[in-house]
């Protein structure tokens, strides 16, 4: 089951992939070093805020890679991938909540604060086991994975495609948002899960822990990227792209199109879940607004801006758009929606291959925008 050596070579065969991986490794090494070895006064010092921000971008990038796999390669425009991201995040958040223990406001050793506040006496069954990291980690994969499996099975089996599929994925995340907003659901309602104290015994705000989370995000992004790259280069990847381009033709030469779609969709959902799980300890909160339909659509625009069907384009897009968002919402907040809206329109009209395609067209052989943005 090991990939053959030629395949391993071709994994790194693309220029975009090589550049992306070099930048990723450089970032994963340099950022912690700059953060830890220089004092706050030094001009070379990189603040904890900046490191966390880049770490957050990396989890977004992993989410974007997941979306690119289903959309760019398989042609499934999922408008609900942020739901899988959020579910992974909630699984991690539940672990972090259980770690708080008696340090909560109500100092209940078992129940998180919001349950005490709601006058609950016992931990609900679905919170059992989340005090153990391995269990939570398993759930980070299983919950989004199984939901995607069930949903995908229902949708693909009945050959729901195109915009119909996009709409019901949006309905899925909308339904989850409504559900998680309810206090009775037992996930903290409106406020979500927050006030985390530590992870695996390390204080969540300790510089060391922050660096650890940052490096973990970088590794997850790298591995997730390589896994997707492996898939796209394998014969299965060519089948998936064939499904994107001519679904019924693929069926007539003997491929079980529904199975392939289901598998890609599920795999992608799991990646999204992992991204969410790494996102939550870095930003320190998870709440139902992560399920908002607009979040999922925004992920799609990251991919479109970067250039779909390339994977590294998705990474570039996630970083560029989120950097722009951080910048604009701080500097001219009322301008951000115009910018985002214009981005949707302009990219679909004039940049179907995204920034990556633009870079390829105008400056063949030059550096691609990934490293520029990733440094920011």
């Amino acid at each position: 089951m090991k990939p053959s050596t030629p395949l391993m070579e071709s994994l790194l065969g693309e220029r975009g992939t090589r550049i992306f991986l070099s930048v990723l490794v450089a970032t994963a090494v340099l950022v912690p070093v700059l953060h830890l070895t220089f004092d706050a006064g030094s001009p070379l010092h990189l603040s904890s805020y900046t490191m966390t921000l880049i770490g957050k971008y990396m989890t977004y990038a992993l989410l974007a890679v997941a979306v690119d796999l289903v959309w760019g390669y398989c042609g499934i425009l999922s408008l609900g991938h942020a739901a899988f991201f959020a579910l992974g995040g909630y699984a991690m958040g539940m672990y972090l909540m259980r770690q708080i223990g008696t340090r909560g406001v109500y100092a209940d050793p078992i129940l998180p604060d919001f349950m005490v506040f709601l006058n609950w006496k016992e931990l609900p069954w679905f919170w059992q086991g989340f005090d153990m990291f391995w269990f939570a980690a398993l759930m980070v994969i299983l919950v989004p994975g199984l939901l995607a499996l069930l949903f995908g099975w229902l949708a693909f089996r009945s050959r729901v495609t195109g915009v119909y599929l996009s709409i019901i994925t949006q309905a899925l995340t909308y339904a989850l948002m409504l559900a998680f907003f309810r206090n009775d659901m037992g996930f903290g309602g409106n406020n979500g899960l927050t006030d985390f104290k530590d992870i695996l015994g390390f204080g969540i705000n300790q510089p060391g822990t922050r660096v650890g989370l940052f490096v973990a995000s970088a590794i997850a992004l790298g591995l997730g990227y390589l896994a997707c790259r492996y898939i796209t280069l394998s014969r299965a990847g060519r089948v998936v792209q064939a499904i994107r381009d001519a679904e019924s033709r693929t069926r007539f030469i003997g491929y079980r199109v529904e199975s392939y779609k289901l598998w890609v969709f599920t795999f992608s959902a799991v990646l999204a879940g992992i991204a969410g799980a790494l996102y939550v300890p870095q930003v320190g909160i998870i709440n139902p607004s992560e399920f908002q339909p607009i979040n999922s659509i925004e992920v799609v625009i990251w991919v479109a801006v970067g250039g779909r069907g390339t994977l590294y384009g998705a990474v570039a897009g996630a970083v560029i758009v989120n950097y722009a968002k951080s910048y604009f919402t701080a500097a001219v907040p009322e301008f951000w929606l115009y910018a985002l809206g214009a981005l949707f329109v302009l990219v679909t009209l004039f940049l179907p291959r995204g920034v990556v395609g633009l870079a390829d067209r105008f400056t063949p052989g030059s550096r691609e925008p990934v490293p520029e943005a990733a440094k920011a």
Binding site: M1, P3, S4, L7, L149, I231, S234, R235, A236, R238, V239, Q241, A242, D245, A246, S248, R249, T250, R251, F252, I253, G254, Y255, R256, V257, E258, S259, Y260, L262, W263
Partner: protein
């Protein structure tokens, strides 16, 4: 070892790829007939695209099907390949395989290949990749994900590339091929599928006379090992390859026989002249 087997079995259960690693049972053609279509009726909104169509195709036969527009030729192919489910009738592939219970990929795996009227190749893929996609073999996710092509498959691709004269184009994107080359590539994909039965919808549309001639040669060379059903409008082409011709009209068989018999059939003349 055990865990890996269990994992694999679970995988196959969920992704529906079980029991497909070896070639599926070949159609049982001991009675000499490979395709049985009996009393097939398909209606769209009250319009009967097929009206109690009954048609048999012999193993190894090259059959041409002609008929005016709307006679039901494409719908018939849709029924055979599982795209359209008939309202009534039965469709058997050999003695034992009931086509009406199978999905499109299962039918393809059972050994029926189809070339569409409009050439549909995978335009974003290279010629080589197109053939590779079509190659007979295990088409489960597990196999395509983890095992590369076998040497046999690679040899076969080289062979087919030569047959369809696309050796020089193996790494070209299919989208940039000429119309005739796309037709050829699609025929090449049919060959890669190693199908027992080939359904070929208008194979020579848009081809140059030389290309038409080569196509005729190719189809004739398949006769014997494969059953081939050709739907075509080009009467000269049909005449050049046909042994037996079936005329469809308004969803059922109007006449069947040699080209000469069919051309002299009063009903056929009326339908074609009346058009």
């Amino acid at each position: 070892m055990n865990a890996s087997t269990a994992l694999r079995q679970g995988w196959q259960k969920v992704f529906g790829t079980g029991a497909r690693s070896e070639r599926p049972i070949a159609p049982d053609t001991t009675h000499g007939t490979i395709l049985y279509l009996e009393d097939i009726t398909v209606s769209f909104d009250g319009f009967k695209a097929l009206n109690a169509l009954t048609l048999y195709v012999d193993a190894g036969e090259l059959r041409c099907i002609i008929g005016p527009n709307g006679a039901g030729k494409t719908t018939m192919m849709d029924v055979i390949t599982g795209k359209t489910r008939p309202d009534a009738g039965s469709a058997w592939f050999g003695q034992t395989i009931d086509l009406l219970t199978l999905t499109e990929p299962q039918i393809a795996e059972a050994g029926i290949g189809r070339k569409f009227q409009k050439p549909t190749v995978f335009e974003q893929h290279t010629v080589l990749e197109n053939l590779e996609l079509a190659a007979a073999g295990n088409k489960s996710i597990w196999a395509t994900l983890f095992s590369p092509l076998t040497a046999v498959q690679r040899d076969r691709i080289d062979h087919v590339l030569e047959t369809v004269r696309l050796q020089d184009r193996r790494d070209t994107r299919a989208g940039v091929l000429s119309h005739g080359q796309k037709q050829w590539l699609e025929i090449g994909m049919l060959l890669m599928q190693d199908a027992q039965m080939l359904l070929v919808d208008e194979p020579v549309a848009g081809m140059t006379p030389q290309e038409v001639e080569r196509t005729a040669e190719l189809l004739l060379s398949l006769e014997g090992q494969h059953s081939v059903v050709v739907v075509e409008h080009d009467m000269n082409f049909v005449r050049s390859i046909a042994r037996k011709v079936t005329v469809l009209h308004e969803g059922h068989v109007l006449a069947e026989g040699t080209m000469d018999q069919v051309q002299n059939d009063a009903k056929v003349v009326e339908v074609y002249l009346g058009e």
